[in-house]
């Protein structure tokens, strides 16, 4: 067999592997763990599991179409995370902002509680109050809060995912925390007034 024929065969085989494993590589990156993270983020942002599922799917679809832009596989999380943030924003634009209802069975009333309250009943109440406060945050504030406190991203990482400057991220976080604190204090004062 001529050398040229061998080379052509190898080239074809390599090309076939490339083509076939583009989807394998995509499936590797967008695996169960990545989808879990993405779906949880989308649910926290959008509040509705069905919307979150669609947004996550949208993000995965966009990632597939733009897979060639991913030059550094170690940057996949950041790259896909930004696509996801944008997919959730697109969903938000199409509807009124809603979040998980406290009456929703998806919202657990039991489980690990990291708060400061020592009374379990008070802990659940505080957690629900916080959830309620989170629900009414402005979308861009909720976005940075979830990225910071749920995904544990740094200011720079949040800036990269949201497309905002680091200073803007800090500012949004500042106002979001102030809003949350204010809402909680207000609730607390109401409870004391009722008591």
């Amino acid at each position: 067999m001529a050398v040229k024929e061998i080379e052509i065969r190898e080239l074809r085989r390599a090309s076939t592997v490339m083509e076939t494993d583009r989807s394998t590589a995509f499936a590797h990156f967008v695996d169960g763990a990545a989808l879990d993270r993405a779906y949880r983020y989308a649910t926290l942002i959008l509040g509705d599991p069905a919307d979150a599922e669609d947004a996550t799917h949208d993000a995965a679809l966009r990632a597939w179409h733009r897979f060639g832009e991913l030059r550094d596989p170690t940057r996949f999380d950041a790259w896909f995370g930004r696509i996801l943030v944008n997919a959730c924003r697109d969903r938000q634009r199409g509807r009124r902002h809603e979040t998980l209802s406290l009456d929703d069975p998806a919202f657990p009333t039991e489980g690990p509680w990291l708060g400061v309250a020592t009374d379990p009943a008070e802990g659940v109440g505080r957690r629900q109050a916080m959830a309620a406060a989170l629900r009414v945050l402005r979308p861009e504030h909720l976005e940075v809060v979830v990225l910071r406190f749920y995904l544990d991203l740094t200011i720079d990482q949040i800036a990269e995912r949201t497309g905002a400057r680091a200073g803007t991220v800090k500012s949004r976080l500042h106002y979001a925390l102030r809003e949350l604190r204010g809402t909680l204090d207000e609730d607390s004062q109401k409870e004391q007034g009722n008591g």
Binding site: E7, E10, L11, R12, R13, A14, S15, V17, M18, E19, T20, D21, R22, S23, T24, A25, F26, A27, H28, V30, D31, G32, A33, L35, A38, Y39, R40, T43, L44, P49, E53, T56, H57, A60, L61, W64, H65, R66, F67, G68, E69, L100, A106, F107, P108, P112, W113, L114, G115, V116, R126, R127, M130, A131, L134, F149, Y150, L177, R181, L184
Partner: protein, 473 residues
């Protein structure tokens, strides 16, 4: 500062509590389907082969191998599940499919709830949003489903035909779903017709199977393959078997197995990797019996497989062991009646035998094997039905059977959740035949009814057979 830390902790705890449980399996299935549904991504576009790119190509191949290894490592359970249970729920006459698992969904015993006391057929799902009925891409209003195959809970295909077609026989039509049968889209079909010629050689088709999102086959008696998810089809001839009629085909563990009738005296078996058409003909020959209409059933689970031939009575068989087909004496070889097989895994094989059908009828009896079909033992009481037409074993404890009811001529679907010790009726589809019964997961199954006097119908269950929903196209 302490106040700040407390607030941070409260936010984290609230978010943790608000965050949902893991992503639903349905989402994973939808995402896995993306490369097939949207094959024209801009990613890693394939370049024309050229000498300067040889090194890049080979390097990419090496990287891809690493990626594959990584994928298998990170998604071990998922990949393993897929590779072991490739054969999807698919329809064929006188065939009961092995159960399959979706990549993100594992079947487990005990996940099924007890059989219902009330038979329920829920209203049909909404028809698919489709192109104009006059469009060649539209699914015809008189589309009749003939064979179904699913590779996951979401992704499936149906082979059918247009009852109102102008030609005879009608051209084959293939439709695909990416959302578990809720909506369907017409895709390219092999350029041939629907066939009813059975084991007479021809290029028409009567059944459809897919091994994965890309690799599928339309067959019976002709053989056509696609390796691009149904975009293009190619007619195949099995080397060494020119003019043979394909009687059965299944795929599992990366290989497709075909049983073909040589037109004379034997059934032959050939196999190929699913992604190529590199067929290898087994030396084993399964002779036809003395009956008028030989029928074969092919069941695969992982790398194990069983072929059972009925020709009025159980006539012969073969077993796939370590990649090689070997002669095998099936269960009920001496009961003067036919048998049907199902396998929940490579070891758990179930057979229902119509004992004495051609001598002194003694009813339907259940036999089970826990050693891959080497030995069988009768289990439980006689089944409360007659005339078995299909059987499925979604799990080792669940067996679903379609048969004629004990007191009527109506077809009845019964299920056992305890390995055949007790049975309950789960569906009475009426005075029609059940052409196929199969499960894709422990809870999702398909059933095709047929009746000479009416249209065939595809039904789906998503609750282990408790309720069956007619599928609209």
């Amino acid at each position: 500062m302490a106040d700040e830390r407390d607030l941070d902790a409260e936010i984290r705890a609230a978010l943790e509590a608000m965050a949902p449980r893991p992503a639903p399996d349905r989402l994973l299935d939808r995402v896995v389907a993306i490369p097939t549904a949207e094959p024209n991504s801009g990613a890693l576009r394939q370049s024309s082969p050229s000498r300067p790119r040889l090194g890049f190509g080979l390097a990419t191949a090496a990287i891809a191998a690493i990626v594959i290894a990584g994928a298998l490592y990170f998604r071990g359970g998922i990949q393993n599940g897929a590779s072991e249970t490739t054969p999807p729920a698919s329809a064929s006459s006188f065939a009961a499919e092995t159960p399959t698992q979706t990549p993100s969904q594992t079947s487990s015993e005990g996940t099924l709830t007890p059989a219902p006391s009330v038979v329920a057929v829920v209203p049909s799902l909404s028809p698919s949003p489709s192109p104009s009925p006059t469009s060649p891409d539209a699914i015809p209003a008189d589309f009749e489903p003939l064979s179904v195959t699913f590779v996951s809970a979401d992704m499936g295909w149906v082979l059918g035909m247009d009852l109102g077609c102008a030609s005879d026989p009608c051209p084959a039509i293939v439709v695909r779903t990416l959302d578990g049968g809720r909506t369907w889209t017409r895709i390219a079909a092999p350029p041939t017709s629907h066939s009813t010629t059975g084991l007479q050689a021809g290029n028409g088709v009567s059944n459809l199977r897919f091994a994965d999102a890309l690799d599928g086959w339309a067959f019976g008696p002709g053989l056509w393959a696609t390796h691009d998810g149904g975009k293009t089809w190619k007619q195949l001839t099995i080397p060494g078997l020119p003019g043979a009629a394909v009687a059965a085909l299944e795929a599992s563990a990366g290989a497709v197995q075909v049983v073909a009738y040589d037109g004379n005296t034997t059934f032959r078996i050939a196999s190929s990797p699913v992604s190529s058409d590199a067929w290898l003909l087994s030396a084993l020959k399964v002779p036809v019996g003395a009956g008028p209409v030989p029928e074969v059933q092919l069941v695969l689970q992982g790398q194990a497989g069983w072929l059972l031939e009925n020709d009025r009575v159980v006539t012969g068989g073969a077993r796939l062991v370590d990649g090689t087909w070997q002669a095998w004496q099936p269960p009920c070889f001496d009961v003067t009646g036919p048998a049907l097989l199902a396998a929940a895994n490579a070891q758990a094989v179930t057979a229902v035998c119509d004992v004495g059908q051609w001598s002194t009828p003694q009813g339907e009896h259940l036999y089970r094997s826990t050693d891959g079909g080497q030995t069988f033992a009768e289990t439980g009481p006689k089944l409360p039905v007659e005339g078995i037409s299909a059987i499925a074993a979604p799990t080792t404890s669940t067996i679903v059977v379609a048969a004629t009811g004990p007191s009527t001529n109506a077809i009845e679907v019964i299920a056992s959740r305890d390995g055949g010790l007790t049975w309950a009726s789960v569906l009475i589809p009426g005075p029609v035949q059940v052409a196929y019964l199969g499960f894709t997961t422990a809870t999702q199954g398909v059933l095709i009814t047929s009746d000479p006097g009416s249209r065939t119908q595809l039904l789906m269950t998503r609750d282990g057979g408790h309720t069956w929903t007619p599928v609209q196209f």
